[in-house]
Structures are given as C-alpha cells and as structure tokens.
C-alpha cells in the first residue's frame, strides 16, 4: 500500500499539539508521526507519548566494559606478567582504584556517545524530509499516512494553521516497521545486528577498521607478524655490573677506613683520674663492659665463653701497654668482635671507663 508523507510547519506549540491530537483521532498511530523543532520541546508538552531511549543502557554497558578493561590493564596483566617492584606487584590496591575509576568513566561517556549515535541512527547522510526553517524556531509535524487518509490529514494540518505544507508520495514501501520511516527516509532501516548489516557500508568500514587495528595491535608485539622495530640498542655499549677494567685511583686519593689517631695528639681531651671519675668509671664498667670482660677485667665475663678468641684480659700487660687514646678509639669504634660503644658511653664516660681500666692494672 502506498504511503504518503506530510510535513507541516507551525509557529506555536498549542496548534501543533492540537494537530497531533486530531491526527491521532484520525487513526494515525503515534509512531507514524514525529515532531521536529529547533528547540527541545518535551514530548509531553505536545501531548505525545514519552520517548524511551536506550542511551542510559549504553552508558551502563560502557561502564561495565570500562571496569573490565581497567581490571585487565592492572591486575589481569600483572597476573600474566608478575612484575614486582620492591616486593610489591605493580598494582597495589589504592592506585589501582584510581585507574579503575578513570577507565570506568571513560567507558561510560564514550558509550553514552556511541549510544546517542546509534539510537538516533547517526550519521545520516542521505536526503531526509526536512525543512531548514525548523532551526529558525518553527515546529515541524511529519506524518506518514496511508494514501486514503492523506487528504484528511492534510486538511487537519491546514485547519490548525500550518504555514507550509508538503506532501510526498512514497512509492516503495521499503520499511518493515512503520515508525522507522520517519527516521531514515529513503534509506533502508536495519538494526545493528540485523541480517543486512553488510549492506550498511559505513558501519561495515568502521567495524572492519576496528578489527584490523586490533589484530595488527595484538599480533605485532607477540611476533605473529614479525616486524623489526628499530630500537637502536645494537649501537649501545653493554657493560655488566662492576665489570672491569676499573679506573685507577687518582694520585691524591687516600683510603679511609674510619678514624685513626694523629701521631702525638690525644683522641679527645683526657679527663684526670679523680676519685669521682673512678667511681663513675666503675659503675659504667659494671653496666657496659662486665658481661664480656668480667668484674675484675680478666676477660672471663659471663658471655666470654661464646667468643673465639676470648675477650681481652684488660689487666694484662699487652692491654695496659695501649695508650689512653688507643683505648678511647677501641671503645668508640669497637675492635674485633667488640662492638662500638659510642652510643652507650659519651666522651666523658669513655674517659671515666679508661681511668677505671687503668686502675685494674695488676
């Protein structure tokens, strides 16, 4: 059955709404009528059924896809290649949450955009029934009516004051569902996943392009299509860790193994061996030295059995032959198995202990 297309332009919203109501009374279903305007008039203002779009659903799916992508980027790839940094995986939880958030939002918004395009059947590059005055503020009513109702519908548009009327006879009933006629005039209506997807060259090119890009992107890195990527690494000299030959030390360099005594100078200003100093020295000796060197200084402290060689006999002639400054350095730096006691004894304490040790001489 031949269909007629009617378009009428109005200035005001009320006659438009009246027209739409009368067209419905005439028996033209709602999905065969649409309103075009340069301003977003809500359908309910014009007494039209609300539009149920699926853009939010696209956005939700996009959010899910984004979340999955982010998981793959972070934890998924780490599972494939367990790269650890300082004992941690490269994806500790808090930073990963940031990536999850950003990529989820990316997916949401891109999908909302794609949803907008698909829901509106954009892009439409074929000629459509339209009037440029619509973007000047006019409201267009577009109806697809059976040929026998066309005259009556035209009369309704005229009676309500449509200041422009156009009628097109559609000879070829191309459209499976009547409502779709209005969205894609003179174009075949298909759903994205319908059987005639291949007849839509635009989407076909897009889809093939995406597949090719993904394939190339996935195959090159894994050597499936071996492509010699120039890294220029063959021009670089490769040197191992601490590999020789090493540079000789500069002439003026002096090896330093910690503090040493300067000949003729004391390690620090000595304290005289007063009675107070000896008393402090004994208390400090009994706190810090006695466990190894023993109460009498003979090197038989309670821990002495654990050491080979045994702790020094402080009463011996060999030890007592050390100068005060040498003993000071031993206490400060440690000697053999003996640790540094610099943190236990400050400078004055050390001299107190030295004075006490001198008094242990046999």
């Amino acid at each position: 059955m031949a269909k007629n297309l009617l378009i009428g332009l109005f200035h005001e919203a009320t006659p438009t709404a009246d027209t739409l109501a009368q067209l419905r009374e005439l028996g033209i279903p709602d999905d065969c009528v649409t309103v075009m305007s340069g301003i977003p008039y809500r359908p309910e203002w014009l007494g039209r059924p609300p539009v149920r779009g699926r853009v939010p659903m696209f956005a939700l799916i996009g959010a899910g896809l984004g979340l999955v992508t982010a998981f793959v980027l972070t934890w998924g790839l780490w599972l494939l290649y367990p790269l650890n940094q300082g004992g941690q995986g490269i994806t500790p939880v808090p930073p990963t949450l940031i990536i999850l958030f950003e990529v989820t939002m990316l997916g949401t918004m891109w999908a909302a955009f794609v949803g907008l395009l698909l829901e509106n059947r954009f892009p439409i590059f074929k000629s459509q029934l339209y009037d440029p005055r619509i973007t000047e503020g006019h409201i267009g009513v577009l109806a697809e009516v059976d040929a026998e109702l066309a005259d009556k519908a035209e009369a309704i548009l005229k009676a309500n004051g449509a200041h422009h009327l156009q009628r097109v006879e559609e000879k070829y009933p191309l459209f499976a569902r009547p409502g779709n006629l209005l969205d894609r005039l003179k174009a075949r209506v298909t759903t994205l996943f319908g059987p005639d997807l291949l007849q839509r060259p635009f989407w076909l090119v897009v889809a093939v392009g995406i597949v090719v890009l993904l394939a190339v992107g996935a195959f090159i890195p894994y050597g499936i299509f071996p492509v010699a990527i120039p890294t220029q690494m063959e021009h670089q000299v490769s040197i191992g860790f601490q590999q020789g030959p090493r540079l000789a030390a500069p002439a003026a360099a002096v090896p330093v193994q910690g503090p040493v005594l300067i000949a003729g100078q004391p390690a620090s200003t000595p304290y005289p061996a007063t009675a107070d100093s000896l008393q402090r020295g004994k208390v400090l000796y009994d706190l810090t030295c006695v466990v190894c060197h023993g109460a009498s200084g003979d090197g038989n402290g309670r821990l002495s059995g654990f050491f080979v060689p045994k702790p020094a006999d402080l009463t011996s002639a060999r030890t007592q032959a050390f100068s005060d400054s040498q003993i000071f350095l031993v206490i400060t730096q440690g000697f053999g198995a003996m640790p540094s006691l610099a943190e236990n004894l400050d400078v004055q304490n050390r001299w107190d202990v030295i004075n006490y040790v001198r008094s242990l001489k046999k």
Binding site: E102, W110, G137, L182, G217, G223
Partner: protein
C-alpha cells in the same frame, strides 16, 4: 474552529497598553537575555555572521598569535635537537616552568566543565550563552597542557613508553606512579570534554548547515550527522548530555587531584601534604573561572555578541569567582598553617624564603592578586564593569601562575639536604615556549571562532521559551518554568 487558548511563539512580544508597564518590561528585557527573545533567525545571524566576516584587526591578531605558536614549536624543535641542557633545568629543580605550565593550563581547563556541567545539573540559567565558550576553554587548555609533559620529556619520541600496551619489550608501566594516573585521567578528561562539547554543538551545527552554502554547508552537513531535531533526537540528546554532566564532574575533580598527587606523593617538604588535592582543585576552578571571563569579554567585543553575552552573565561568573577566591584563601591558609605548626626546619626555611627571601616579591604579588584584588568583586560596580572584570581576571591569572611557580621550582629548590639547595631561573627556551603556549590557546580560539558557533543558540532559545514575567505589586520580575 472553536474558541481555544493558545500560546504565542516565544519570540512574539505582546503589545502592552500601559506605558509604565511597557517601560518596566523593557528594562527587565534589557537586563535579561532570556526575557529578550528575538526571531531566532536574527539571533542565528548574529552568531554566524562573525564567522565569515573577518576584519583586518582579526587577521593582524591571527598573524600575531600564529607567530607565537610558530615560535613555540620552533623552540621545541631546537630543544629536541640540542637536548634539555639548553633549559634552566638542573639539580635539584628538575621540574620547573614546563610543569608550572602543565598545572596552570590543566587548571584553566577546569572552569569550562564546571560551568557547563555543574551549572547545567544545578539548572543555573545564566550558564546558557556562555557554556560553549567555557567548554572550548577547557578543550584548548587541556590540549595545551597535554603538550607540556611531552616537551618536558626531552626525548619526546619515547612518550609511548608511558602507555600500557602489550609490546615486544614485555615492559609494563607501573601503576604506582602518579604520572600514569595523570595519563589515564587526562585521556579520559580530554576525550570526554571534546565529546561533551561536540554533543552540545550538534543542534548548532544543524543550524549552521541550514543557513550556509558552499564548503561550509558540506562541512556542517557532515558534522551535524543528519540532525533534524525530531523528538527522539532531542530526547536522546538530553539524556546523553545529562549523563555526561554527571559523569564528567567527578572526572574533573579527579584530574586536578591527580595533578596535585604528582607533587604530594613525593617526600618533598612543602609538597607532601594531604590537603594538596582539594587545594589544587579549588585553585584550578579559580584560575579557570578567570580565564573564562577573559575569553568571554574578548569574544563579546571582537565578535559583537553583546546581545548574547550581557552583564548578567559576567556578573554571575564574577560571583562564582569571588566565592572561589575565598575558597582558595581558605585552602592556602590550611596548606601553610599545618606545616608552620609542625615547625619542621626545611619548611620553616621555605616560609622564611616566602616571607622575606628572594621570592618574597612574587609571594606578596600572589597574595595581592589572588586574595585581595578579587575582594573588589563584592562591589556591584566592579562586577558589572567589563573592564574591571577583565583586569581582576588578569590579576588572578598572574597570581595563580605565580602560585604554581612557587610550588614547583621554588619548593623543589629547598629540599631536605641544605647542601643541595638550588635557585632556578627560567632560560630563554623555556620562556619562549611558555609565552607560545598562551599564544597557542588564543590562536586555537581565533581559529575555532571562524568555524563553529561560539554561542549555543539552542540552549538560549530553550531558556527563552521557559522564561516569563510575573507582576508582584509594582514590580515586574522574571520567572522560570521548570521543565522536569
């Protein structure tokens, strides 16, 4: 046809018999764009005409800013050829003017989304004519900002190492690094800001398509994607814009928070602070609002858009900017107070440097420009004066640029090891590239103003449909219908 009530087309003005009332209404109309409707074709002409009538003055400035852009890219090429050694970067200030520019231009990119998305969500009516210009400030600010990590990289061609993709080196960027968060956040923000601007541009592209001929007609026909303004198109358009508005606001907050984390995650005195996230966001909105005002005042004058961009819009922006100035003061005070209380030696030295050291002039200029100059906006006379607003906004740009300078190279020069302290001075290449970056943003505006309508006319008409007048006593006041 029986007697029925009808509304009038929104551009028709009913004749008012009473003369006083007519004068009153005329007054209100002059103040409010949304109460001053015209036949849309006249408005459209105002939007479209400047796009193909370029004056000599336009070409002069176009050439000037194109020259700046050329200078920037030439300097960048020279720097790539000779290496980063020609810049002032040296230990300990390895982050300097390029990073300052990066933070500054990302900051500029925040107001646009805030104005068009947040004010859309909140249904603030004065956003309508300015949202496009604000979105473009966002897009161009972000594009320019995204250049700076590349410039700062030195070996720009190695940039792709940052992108997580399967590669034959079997290397994977570590998600520990705030720089990778930056990449993700900026990719999201920039691409979605472009989509957001494009979606709201669609009906205007259709308008431009219907009123142009020649190559422009073809260009707009392609870009408008076959927009006819059917119920379904509008409905999906509205839904998509709402989704974008709600989704892009948290992304906007996350972007500058992540930029702040570039600093705050380092154990650098003056940077290692938990308040850096919100502090940077507020600073970004603050400088961004100023940038939008500058853009609006220039567009208004240069493209003769006085019908669309009125004092009420600039005043709304000025109030927003005043509020953001107070917020900035609050956060800056917080950022200083807590380290001051801690009395850590290095931070004390940093404060001494600000208060009486070599950067003291910069510090006091920043306080003056960011905290004191905007206070003048409490006076209606300043808020409603275009020149006054322009000057205040310019001060804010200077102040916010200095703020970033004090944080990045000055803060970095004063680390935990006094032995390694250093003074940073920008060298010529950095200065040229920075000046060129400002030129680039303006140049992009010059370019886009010849191709796309800078006023979202459909949003204005929608507002004009929804607004009306109401008499209360002797006054006639604007009222607004809530569509939802």
């Amino acid at each position: 046809m029986s007697e029925r009530k009808t509304d009038q087309a929104f551009w028709r003005r009913p004749a008012i018999a009473d003369e006083t009332e007519a004068h009153q209404i005329e007054d209100v109309r002059q103040q409010h764009l949304l109460l001053d409707p015209r036949y849309p074709l006249d408005s459209d002409r105002d939007v479209l005409d400047p796009m193909y009538r370029s004056s000599k003055r336009y070409w002069f400035f176009f050439a000037l800013f194109a020259g700046l852009v050329l200078m920037m890219f030439t300097t960048w090429t020279v720097q790539m050829w000779l290496g980063l050694g020609i810049t002032g970067l040296k230990r300990p200030t390895m982050w300097a003017l390029y990073i300052v520019n990066f933070v500054y231009f990302i900051g500029i990119g925040h107001a646009g989304t805030f104005i068009s998305a947040a004010l859309r969500v909140l249904k603030v009516e004065w956003r309508r004519p300015i949202s496009r210009a604000a979105e473009l400030v966002t897009v161009f600010g972000l594009m320019t900002a995204a250049l700076f990590p590349l410039i700062h990289l030195g070996r720009t061609w190695k940039f792709y190492w940052l992108i997580p993709y399967p590669n034959e080196r079997q290397l994977w960027p570590s998600f520990h690094s705030p720089l990778l968060w930056d990449l993700t956040a900026i990719t999201t923000y920039l691409s979605c800001s472009i989509l957001f601007a494009y979606i709201s541009l669609l009906p205007d592209l259709a308008m431009a398509r219907d009123h142009t001929s020649g190559w422009r007609h073809i260009l707009y026909s392609v870009l408008a994607l076959g927009w006819r303004g059917t119920e379904r198109e509008w409905s999906n358009h509205e839904t998509a814009l709402n989704i974008f508005s709600y989704a892009i606001i948290p992304v906007m907050f996350s972007v500058h928070t992540i930029v702040s984390w570039d600093f705050a995650m380092a154990i650098q005195p003056g940077w290692h602070s938990t308040i850096f996230g919100p502090y940077f966001v507020v600073g970004a909105l603050f400088s961004g609002a100023g940038a939008v005002i500058i853009a609006l005042t220039i567009i208004r004058k240069a493209m003769r858009l006085q019908y669309f961009l009125r004092t009420e819009h600039l005043e709304g922006m000025a109030k927003l900017m005043l509020l953001l100035s107070f917020a900035w003061d609050y956060f800056y005070f917080n950022d200083v107070l807590v380290p001051w209380y801690g009395q850590a030696p290095v931070e004390k030295s940093l404060f001494a440097l600000f208060a009486s050291g070599r950067v003291a002039p910069l510090f006091y200029l920043m306080i003056f420009a960011n905290a004191i100059v905007p206070v003048t906006l409490v006076f209606k006379r300043v808020r409603t004066s275009i020149v006054g607003l322009f000057i205040v906004s310019l001060f804010i740009q200077i102040g916010m640029y200095i703020e970033r300078f004090l944080i990045v190279p000055v803060g970095l020069g004063q680390n935990e090891i006094p032995f390694a302290w250093g003074v940073y001075v920008p060298y010529l290449p950095e200065s040229l590239i920075s000046i060129g970056a400002f030129g680039l943003v303006i140049f992009l505006f010059f370019l886009i103003s010849r191709f796309f309508p800078l006023i979202p006319s459909w949003e204005v008409y929608e507002g004009q449909v929804l607004q009306g007048l109401r008499r209360i006593g002797r006054a006639i006041l604007p009222t607004r219908a809530e569509p939802d």
